[in-house]
Amino acid sequence: MLIFELSKPTRKNISQSPREEPEITDIPEAHLREHPPALPEVSELQVVRHYTRLSQSNFSIDTHFYPLGSCTMKYNPRACNKYAMLPEFLMRHPQSAVATGQGFLQCLYELQEILKDVTGMKGVSLTPLAGAQGEFAGVAMIRAYHDSRDDHVRDEILVPDAAHGTNPATATMCGYKVREIPTDAKGDVDVEALRVAVGPQTAGLMLTNPSTLGIFEGHIQKIADIVHQAGGLLYYDGANLNAIVGKVKPGDMGFDVIHMNLHKTFSTPHGGGGPGAGPVGVNDRLLPFLPIPIVTEEGGDYRWLAEQELPQSIGRLSASMGNAGVLLRAYIYARLLGKEGMNRVAEFATLNANYLMAQLRTRGFDMAYPTRRAAHEFIVTFKNLKEQTGVIAMDVAKRLLDKGYHAPTVYFPLLVPECFLIEPTETESKQELDGFTDALVEILEEAQRDPELVKSGPHTTTVTRLDEVKAARELDVAWDNE
């Protein structure tokens, strides 16, 4: 049932709108709307019940284990929400003077400092609104850097073939050509291929480390040298920062610029697909190009640095200063963890991943990179299962929903056939991991015994498998009552 189907003409929620209905005398008819927009006319209780019920058909971290690889679905502490939503923070207009927001700015300033420390970078800008926008800012800074040196021949960004799709898409948005670097048999970047690929046309290399294959890039120092010697810069995609936070600093690995996903590593909520926050960090040579605004502190006073102080900045990325509420949640999370807690994040994320990998291997699952240590995530491949039973990775994923677990990331990275990318995160207990292992083992048994049962899943969710081809062919993206 759609909210529109509950609608009855003339029903109103009079407590939710202004009492009076002032007359319009000074706006010409031609500017006015002929018919009111056909929004639903429903009671407050109908709204509450409708959206409460909708929420209940969602899987979420609060209700289910959610081992979505590369997404870091860890617990979102409630305190982060509560104290980011204090009225003074919520009511403050972004254009009001800094004098009215010193407490708010202090939080952001301290968050910048914390992120600098964690990443080993010299400067941080909190302004990018999501990871992909952070990537955009990072590559735009690489371009601004080369342009500032009148080095205009660099027109190519290198991206490993295992990279997230955002990397090549970002390079294109920044006006670069994309060249893919292959992965070697062990899952590392093919260093020889990289050596051949670099040259005077190389603007930079975008790298995730640990990689999307869930393993730490063993040749990172060599890679950094090759790219730097060619005059390119090294970009760190912070998607997997949770695997190394408190253990290794990207700055120490030789990266020049990094984006972080605060909705992953710093536990801000994913909210059904956003909002995120994608701060960027840079080393000395990229400092002048950071996106604005940035918070600065002088004698206990906080204010924004903008165009005047940072004339070489790549500019503004949003109408204000970033996703303030998300940044406050990340700040609260960082303060709750502190130094010690931050060190433990990568340790326990890695412990959980390796434990789960070991358990699954013992119980008969195939690892894509069996000789490697898992970082905070790892890849299972169902290639053999498919050959034996016809059951594919997607079927296993759907059947997992019946067992009360959100499916891991499926069919990514593209290099590994029939794969699951599994990331348990540090906030899951051993009991939860054991339950997940048992569920997967059950599905494996079902696949041997009754493959149809698995292939026709899920059976217990509010809908069964959806016809995606019909969705794309017979587009219906807005309800039409008629």
């Binding site: 031609a30 709307r33 209940q56 979505l68 403050r92 999501a130 207990s429």
Partner: protein
């Protein structure tokens, strides 16, 4: 260790299963030289009671002000239901609905959102949202340039918020797209057709048309739209969603309607929140749907024929098309869209219209009250929605500081971005302002202006005597 559930014995057991002695051994593939760095700027951890105190103290320090600023973000009443429901764990802690069967709540809500936005803007399709209004405009510019092959210019009125123009420039300039600034009428505060029609239409993909514009002024949207279409350009409307309850929606502008409409979604149930998170919306004619960036939800059926919802047209997106994607974007602002959908459902057409009417009436009252003060003059003679520009005989920055001391954030100083208008500020009164608050603003401004007139600050005396 906060939020880590492991007991000592479990850790031991887990390490044994893995076959290592310590957690440190799990990092043995990382070169020694890179490991075990010390965090020096991260403070010691504190508990929830302590962070509650820290945050409350900082919030109290910031305090609460009576707000007369708009400029792209607006204070509106937000029903209690909106955030009570939005922060339910099932919405708050879910992710992108890639597993549609386990995400029908989020997906159906997004479909309802798309429907509401399409109806509000009078267009056929909507995506599931973008980051914010400014970046949505940038994405619309990119979409228009993609749709009009071989055209790389876009006409951009100066009556679009300065920061929007800056953001668009940041995002599109590396793709060789040229933004042509259009000047405005200093009498009407709008973008007259005579100015627009002076510009070339060679290689131009689109004309951007705000409604209302940054000054709160209503543009001649019908004439601008028809001119653009007559010259083969697409029209990108930039609209305020609350105003859409009252004003002609972009889909109905001129003969054929705007092709794309974008805007800032914050007024629909999101708090000002010091700058975000907000959301941007994008609606368009059906024929442009494949040029749209961002997520789109479609209605379909399951294996039993039951209606359900799923992400669709994903072949446009970065995780499939990689370097050929319509955008690198891979989120929507799901949670804020959740709030907006619930807000629109609660308000309905009548409620939203009343909000719009009251905003307009309050702003009208504010402008006429303040313009009565000596040294304050209302600019622009055209109809407006819920904002207006005042010219002052004093430095707006100093006046705004003095108002702040009285607990009033009084407006946005426009002097820097619009020096041709002189000493001006942009003010706004939404439905949340009461008559007595507007009266108090008038009283304080009157007093501040007259005191400064009679007893100018030192710097001005010196400047005046020189």
């Amino acid at each position: 260790m906060p939020f880590i559930p492991h007991t000592e014995s479990e850790i031991r057991e887990m390490l044994d299963v893995i076959g290592v002695d310590s957690i440190d051994d799990l990092f043995d593939e990382i070169p020694e030289a890179l490991r075990a760095q010390v965090l020096s700027l991260v403070p010691e951890g504190i508990n929830e009671m302590e962070i509650a105190r820290v945050m409350t103290e900082r919030a109290n320090k910031d305090g609460l002000y009576t707000n007369f600023i708009g400029g792209g973000a607006y204070e509106h009443h937000i029903p209690a239901v909106v955030w009570e429901l939005t922060t339910r764990g099932e919405f708050y802690s879910a992710y992108t609905p890639y597993q549609a069967e386990a995400s029908q709540g989020t997906l159906q809500l997004l479909y309802e959102f798309q429907t509401m936005m399409a109806r509000l803007t009078g267009l056929e399709v909507s995506n599931a949202s973008l980051y914010d209004g400014a970046s949505a405009l940038a994405e619309a510019v990119l979409a228009a340039v993609r749709a009009k092959k071989n055209a790389n210019k876009v006409l951009m009125p100066s009556t679009i918020a300065p920061v929007y123009r800056q953001v668009v420039n940041t995002i599109v300039r590396n793709q060789g797209i040229e933004l042509i600034d259009l000047s405005f009428s200093e009498v009407g505060g709008h973008t007259p057709l005579e100015i627009v029609s002076q510009h070339t239409t060679d290689d131009v993909a689109a004309l951007v048309v705000p409604q209302p514009n940054y000054f709160g002024v209503l543009e001649d949207v019908d004439a601008l739209t028809d001119w653009a279409h007559d010259h083969g350009l697409l029209v990108i409307g930039v609209v305020n969603p609350i105003a859409m309850a009252l004003l002609e929606p972009p889909g109905h502008w001129g003969e054929h309607g705007a092709d794309i409409a974008v805007g800032e979604g914050q007024p629909l149930g999101a708090p000002l929140s010091s700058g975000g998170p907000y959301f941007g919306f994008m609606c368009a004619k059906q024929k442009l749907i494949r040029q749209m960036p961002g997520r789109i939800v479609g209605r379909t059926v399951d294996t039993k024929g039951k209606p359900g919802f799923t992400l669709t047209l994903q072949a446009r997106e970065q995780h499939i098309r990689r370097s050929k994607a319509t955008s690198n974007i891979c989120t929507n602002q799901g949670l804020i869209v959740t709030a907006a959908t619930i807000y629109m459902a609660l308000l309905g057409p009548d409620g939203l219209r009343r909000v719009a009417l009251k905003c307009h009436a309050n702003t009208k009252r504010l402008l006429s009250s303040l313009a009565k003060i000596e040294g304050v003059e209302k600019l622009f003679d055209r109809p407006f929605f819920h904002e207006g520009v005042l010219r002052l005989t004093q430095d707006p920055a100093a006046i705004l500081r003095a108002l702040e001391a009285q607990g009033i954030v009084g407006g946005i100083d426009l002097s820097q971005h619009y020096p041709q208008l002189g000493q001006t500020m942009l003010v706004c009164a939404t439905e949340t302002r009461t008559d007595s608050e507007i009266d108090a603003y008038e009283t304080h401004l009157e007093r501040i202006m007259s005191r400064r007139r009679l007893d100018p600050p030192c710097a001005q005396k010196i400047a005046g005597s020189g």
